[in-house]
């Protein structure tokens, strides 16, 4: 008997839960769209369904994976964020995807920050990377807002991606980076301080 219980994380505005069958529709729409071009998409219906099932199985196989990001109040889904390490990945990755309709609210920042904290504090990860398409400027910008720095020495997945190295657990603990991230998230939560002027996830 193999059973997998996926932990639930709560942040200021969000609740992160394991992907469920009923959350599939928005994932399917996103992976059928141009939005998915940096995540191996667009995919056909079979490939999309198998990828979604793989997101769930990843938790069982690795003990961590991608959470579904929900609005704490409405339960609406905004995207996914978490840990990802398929066969060809040199290191554990922190990854995210936001549905096209939910960009620009800092949800990916808030979810990825919570996921990283969980991996560092609960699972004992020392560090993590994000493998990004060099043309995916929104995600590069997000990696930078998370304090990640381009690592030119690190092995990439297949040479077509750039590696951003996240601050280690030690570097992040009680750091200015951490305070800055939390301040930015709090500004999103308070629309008066909403950052303007650049592409955001």
């Amino acid at each position: 008997m193999a059973t997998k219980n996926i932990p639930i994380l709560e942040t200021k505005r969000l609740v992160l839960r394991g992907p469920d069958a009923e959350d599939y529709a928005a994932f399917k729409a996103t992976f059928a769209s141009y939005r998915s071009r940096f995540m191996g998409g667009p995919l056909n219906p079979y490939e999309t369904w198998m990828l979604y099932a793989a997101e769930i199985g990843h938790w069982t196989i690795r003990g961590y994976g991608m959470w579904m990001i929900h609005d704490k109040e409405t339960d609406e889904t905004y995207g996914m964020a978490g840990g990802w390490m398929p066969a060809a990945w040199p290191e554990k990755e922190i990854a995210w995807i936001i549905w096209p309709s939910a960009v620009g609210h800092g949800y990916a920042l808030e979810a990825a920050h919570a996921a990283r904290k969980y991996f560092y504090n609960e699972l004992g990860w020392d560090g993590a990377v994000s493998y990004l398409d060099p043309k995916n400027l929104d995600s590069i910008r997000l990696a930078e807002r998370l304090g990640a720095v381009k690592d030119k020495e690190a092995a990439s997945v297949d040479g077509n991606d750039v590696v951003y190295r996240h601050p280690s657990a030690e570097q992040l603990a009680n750091s200015q980076i951490n305070d800055g991230i939390e301040m930015e998230i709090s500004h999103y939560a308070d629309p008066l301080f909403k950052p303007k002027g650049y592409a955001l996830d």
Binding site: P19, A54, A87
Partner: protein, 172 residues
């Protein structure tokens, strides 16, 4: 809380259980070989990892799926059997594959019979069909031996295939 369970089924010589990470090297060898030609192969390491994890997720999404089966005495992963029901499938399919070193021993038949019986009793899937590539003589022979009969021609993901209908399994 996302939770689901993959049951374990025991036969005379086999254990049908959840796919696990240590199955990956033999999956990769299978999907790199010609044996995989009739079941969606060849697949590279990345695609094999996606297959492995998606087989587990299939159980979570549908409530049933494929088991990986191993030799009870050696613990060696020998193949898979169970249900596939993905976009493109017109109804749930009873599918299987066996590794080269497990062929000719009746392992696949043993696993498929156990799976067919289990899904009928537990999931109400009592009258299943299998998609088989027209040139896959060994699978056709095995399906007939298990009592399945040719029903009609069909196509799956743009490839022609034959539908073999298994005998109805009494569930009471």
């Amino acid at each position: 809380m996302t939770s689901f369970a993959i049951p374990t089924v025991e036969t005379d010589r086999l254990i049908l259980r959840a796919p696990k990470l240590s199955d990956l090297p033999r999956m990769e060898a299978f999907f790199a070989s010609k044996r995989s030609a009739y079941v969606g192969g060849p697949r590279d390491a990345m695609a094999c990892f996606t297959s492995l994890t998606s087989r587990i997720g299939h159980w979570a999404v549908r409530g049933f799926g494929l088991w990986h089966f191993e030799d009870k005495t050696t613990g060696t992963f020998m193949g898979w059997a169970g249900i596939i029901d993905a976009p493109g499938w017109h109804e749930p399919e009873l599918g299987w594959s066996v590794m080269e070193d497990g062929e000719g021993k009746g392992y696949a038949s043993e696993a498929v019979l156990a799976a067919r019986d289990y899904v009928a009793r537990h999931f109400g899937l009592g009258h299943l069909m299998s998609y088989i590539a027209p040139a896959n003589d060994r699978s056709i022979t095995m399906a007939k031996r298990l009592g399945a009969e040719f029903e009609r021609e069909h196509s799956l993901m743009g490839k022609s295939c034959h539908i073999y209908r298994h005998p109805k399994v009494e569930t009471v």
